[in-house]
Amino acid sequence: MAGTGMPLLDISGLSVEFRGGSRTARVLNDVALTVAANETLGIVGESGCGKSMTALAILRLVPSPPGRITGGRIVFEGEDLLQASEQRLRDVRGHRIGMIFQEPMTSLNPVLTIGDQLSETLVKHLKLDARAARGRSIELLRAVGIPAPERRVDEYPHQLSGGMRQRVMIAMAIGCEPQLLIADEPTTALDVTVQAQIFELLRELRDRRGMGLILITHDMGVIAEMTDRVAVMYGGRVVEEAATAEILSAPAHPYTRGLIACVPDLDAEEAPGADLVEIAGMVPSVWDLPRGCPFADRCAEAMPRCVAEMPPTTVMTAGHSVACWLHQGVPS
């Protein structure tokens, strides 16, 4: 299902800083990613590694102050969004690029009806009149599997369950048939059965409409099931990127190996109560990133050079790149 031709989205050198008092946090460092049409890119990593910030940066929604995009290019359909005017950007947001947020409970406005919140995107981007927008809202609700959409359209978010609200968010994000859909941990707040339904829905939408999809998650299981390619993020950097099958079978970065080892294997005949594997240590604070590799202090294979110097990103095989001194030939 991998896409071909020119990428739909091509991010390079993306850096974001947060300022707090006299301190500066480098939240994203030199991030590079590409997504093709009809392709699903997974972004995986622990909390605080920069996944969500990358998603926000694509639409230039980094909270400012204190955040600021300090460099890079985000080329979408041949246009650098970092150079675009606010007005041009508003045409892209919600129209060419849809976004689904992590928190369905708080991401909908509590004092506006579902229909109102769905319609306004349609009115703005597709220039529908109120009546047509309402009709299309009902269609969209039906498309994402909400029962009795004619009734739901006039309800308020608090009258819907978490799973239903996330469906509304998805309906909102795909309302204008975007070329690219960004889903930031779309199922974190939902229970497992609902999770499966939401992923099924996203997959179906991508296949039917040929969208590019960026799926942000911390769950390797989701990555394995849903994505074509994966970018592993750590400490505000992409530390490894490859086709999903390759990442799962031959992970190169020690962090990626750790993430995969953490997935409990339900089929294995381990004794009940066997310890779950975890990566020792904690994610470094973005306010206090080390000079060298951010993973060095948690890495079992760390060398003196890892602490001293950030490894550059190297291409191992076609489509598989990694930023780790282990894969830089002989360390000096």
Partner: protein, 324 residues
């Protein structure tokens, strides 16, 4: 339907509350030293014990306090608020005659405070560290710390001597009646300073509250969603943020309505505004019990009505609240 039921229940509680207020006020007033007869005697330059006793029995003041309370409540139940000792007029007509002046003053001040307070707060929230934002913070602190009577007096000094363009006392000019339009303009002219002094404190509070509330809401997930949809900032601000930011303001306005009435007493006294506040102040000095009790009854009624209105507003603004 649920709303009507809810209102009915609230009215029932309100009635109990009003009776409680009456009983408590009745007993509290009696705790103050002196009675109307003493005050009267003082004004007349002395009075024999016999005349005092005669007056006391005529007013029923020689009865035990609880008996007096019983008589008062009994009359109250039939809609009789008694006679003012001082004016020799039914308390009800005395109050109804002055109620419009107070309502005019309080409502003008309230609208002024809420409307300009929220506008300033919203403007300030657009640039939380901007010049306007900081100016509002400074002015708010001053406005909030300055007592109403002091603000009033400063305004009087300013407009009585330095810049005599606004009347500083009363509600109408001596020579009135130039048609209803001129009369209204005359009252409006007199209203400016009292309404302003009364509004300043609340204006300061509401602008700060609105600013804080807007900043809070602007950082919320649903505002981010609205931006991610590509909506114009204006729409994000007013459609998505402002309605949510107004909820705490509505609450505070309701809670503070009583304070506003209390402030009106001071302002009416300072500006000689012929309303209930002025009457209340004088009635305390004269120990005019029936008038005072009538005033307390009406004030509690006003506060209760205001709170009911606020509840209705809240229900209209926030769909999450249902009769429960």
């Amino acid at each position: 339907m649920a709303l009507i039921l809810f209102m009915a229940r609230r009215l029932f509680y309100a009635a109990i509350l009003v009776i409680g207020v009456l009983i408590l006020s009745f007993l509290l007033i009696r705790l103050a030293p002196g009675d109307p007869v003493d005050t009267l005697a003082g004004q007349m330059g002395g009075m024999t014990e016999e005349i005092r006793a005669g007056l006391r029995s005529e007013y029923g003041l020689d009865q035990p306090t609880l008996v007096q309370l019983g008589i008062y409540l009994e009359r109250f139940a039939t809609g009789n608020l008694g006679y003012s000792y001082f004016f020799n007029l039914p308390v009800l007509s005395l109050i109804l005659q002055r109620l419009p002046a107070t309502l005019l003053l309080v409502l003008t001040a309230l609208v002024l405070a809420v409307v300009s307070g929220t506008i300033l707060g919203v403007l300030a929230s657009r640039r939380p560290n901007g010049l306007l934002s900081q100016a509002i913070t400074v002015v708010s602190v001053i406005g909030y710390s300055a007592p109403v009577f002091w603000t009033g007096m400063l305004l009087i000094i300013l407009f009585a001597s330095v810049l005599p363009i606004l009347p500083v006392s009363g509600m109408t000019a001596a020579a009135v009646s130039g048609g209803w339009l001129l009369d209204s303009l005359d009252v409006a002219h007199h209203l400016v300073l009292p309404a302003l002094s009364l509004a300043v404190v609340y204006l300061a509070q509401y602008s700060r509250l609105t600013r804080a509330s807007m900043l809070d809401v602007l950082g919320s997930d649903y505002v981010r969603t609205a931006r991610a949809k590509g909506l114009e900032e204006r729409k994000v601000f007013f459609k998505h943020a402002f309605r949510n930011a107004m909820l705490p303001i509505i609450t505070i306005v309701g809670l503070q309505f009583g304070n506003l009435l209390a402030g009106a007493i001071v302002v009416e006294t300072v500006f000689n505004w012929p309303g209930l506040g002025r009457l209340a102040f004088d009635s305390v000095l004269r120990r005019d019990y029936p008038t005072l009790l009538g005033l307390l009854f009406f004030s509690s009624l006003l506060v209760i009505v205001a709170n009911q209105l606020v509840d209705v507003c809240y229900r209209l603004a926030d769909p999450r609240i249902k009769a429960s």
